[in-house]
Symmetry: C2
Subunit: 241 residues, 2 copies
C-alpha cells in the first residue's frame, strides 16, 4: 500500500484510489463540524455564484470571502459556528476557496474522496484504510497556490496514524509531512505560524485556530457521494469497522 | 526581506524579485558543473527537439530522457561527467525535464533567476542576497508534478544560509524546508531517499547521488542572461562582493 502526500493541488495530478483532502484552516474542519451538528449533506461549490444559485432551495448557505461571511449567506466558514448551527437534517452549501478547489481536483480521478482535518483525524485515517486497496493520498489545499504549513503538518499527523495501523511505503511528500509532524509536538504551533492563521487574525477570527488544532474530537468524516451540477455532495461516511 | 520556498512549480506562481531554481538531482548541479568546466553559456531548453535544433551550431548537446543520454546527444545529464567534459569556452545546450520547466516558470516573472544546488549553495545564497531588494524565492522543480524530498531539503539548506546572512521573514514553505533541513544532519540521507535517486538507481547512475550531496564545492552560479528562441541562456554570475 502506497502512502502519498501532495502539498499542493497541481492541476495535472491524478489519483488512483483514496484521497484525504486537507484544508485544516478551515474548510475541512468546518465540514466535519456541520456533520457533527447533524447536517444531512454538504454541497461543495467552487464559487459564491454557484452557491447562491441554491438559495431558492431549502438549504443553508455557508462560505467565506476574504475569511468573512459573504453578503446574503446564512453562515461564514467558522468551525465553532458550524458546530452550534441549527443544521439538523438539512443540506449545507459550502463555498470556500482552497479546500473546494482541492476537493474538485481529487474528485476528477480518485475512487474515494474524504475530507480530513485534525478534528476528525483518527476517524478519517481509519476510514481511508478501510476503503483503500492500493494507495492513500493526502492532498493539501494550500492557500492561493502556496503551500500551507498548517495543511502539510496535518498531512503528517494523518500519515503517522496510517503508518501506525498499516505497513505502507511513504514517498517523498509523505516523508516531508512526517518530518514536519515530528518537529512540532504541539499542533497549535505550526497552525498558528501558518499564513492561513495570520489571515484569520487580520479579520478578528483567530479563535478559530485553536479550535482547528484540536485532534481527534469527531468521528464525522465527509465522503464524496455524488454531484449536483458542478457541486460535490458529501455525506457522513458509515462508521469504520 | 521575504524568504519564500515553493515546493512545486505551479503554473500560476508569480515572482517579484530573485528566484533560486533547485533541481538538485541533477539538472542544477550539472549546470554548475558545466560552468566549472569552463562552459561559456548554457542554453536551457524544455524539449529534446528544441535542443536538437541547435545541433548545426557549434554547441555541445547534453540532456536526458528517462535519466539517460538521448540519441544523438553528446552528453547525458550527469554532473560527474559535466565536470570533466571538454566544454571550455563552448555553449552547452541542456535539455532536462523538471529543472527546465521550473526555470522557464521563474523566467516569466522574476527579475533574476539563478540555478542553485547543494554543490554551489554558498555562492548561490550570497549571489541571491546581493541581487535581492524585497524577496528571495526558492523554487523546487520536483519530479513530474510531485514534490521532491531532495529539492525541498536543498531549499532548506539554502534558506538556512540566507537567514544566517540576513534577517528575513520566512513564510510557510520556508519554515517547512528549514524543518526538513534540520531533521537530516547528513545531506546524503534525504537525497538517497528521494524518488529522483531511486529513479537513477534504476538506470545504474546512483553514483551521481553522493556527488549531488556535496555541499558548497563550487562558486559557479548560473544566472539567466537572455533568451534565444524559447531557450533560456544562463551564464556564470559575477563573483558576489
Amino acid at each position: 500500500m502506497r502512502l502519498r502526500v501532495d502539498p499542493l493541488p497541481l492541476p495535472e495530478l491524478a489519483f488512483a484510489d483514496v484521497v484525504l483532502v486537507v484544508d485544516v484552516i478551515r474548510a475541512t474542519t468546518t465540514a466535519a463540524c456541520f456533520l457533527e451538528a447533524g447536517a444531512e449533506a454538504l454541497y461543495l461549490t467552487s464559487s459564491l455564484e454557484t452557491a447562491r444559485a441554491f438559495k431558492d432551495q431549502d438549504v443553508v448557505l455557508a462560505g467565506e470571502e476574504g475569511g468573512l461571511r459573504p453578503p446574503g449567506f446564512d453562515l461564514g466558514n467558522s468551525p465553532r459556528e458550524a458546530l452550534e448551527a441549527p443544521v439538523g437534517g438539512r443540506t449545507v452549501v459550502m463555498s470556500t476557496t482552497n479546500g473546494t478547489r482541492a476537493a474538485h481536483l481529487a474528485a476528477k480521478t480518485a475512487k474515494h474522496v474524504l475530507l480530513a482535518s485534525l478534528f476528525n483525524a483518527h476517524a478519517a485515517a481509519r476510514k481511508a484504510l478501510e476503503l483503500a486497496t492500493e494507495e492513500v493520498a493526502i492532498l493539501c489545499a494550500g492557500k492561493e497556490g502556496r503551500v500551507g504549513l498548517d495543511d502539510l503538518y496535518t498531512a503528517g499527523v494523518l500519515a503517522e496514524y496510517l503508518l501506525l495501523m498499516r505497513e505502507m511505503s511513504p514517498e517523498d511528500g509523505a516523508r516531508i509531512a512526517l518530518t514536519l509532524k515530528r518537529a512540532y509536538p504541539d499542533p497549535l504551533e505550526p497552525l498558528s505560524l501558518s499564513a492561513a492563521a495570520q489571515a484569520l487574525k487580520g479579520v478578528g477570527l483567530e479563535a478559530d485556530v485553536p479550535f482547528c488544532a484540536q485532534v481527534a474530537q469527531s468521528s464525522a468524516v465527509p465522503i464524496l457521494s455524488g454531484r449536483v451540477g458542478e457541486a460535490l455532495i458529501f455525506k457522513r461516511a458509515g462508521k469504520a469497522s
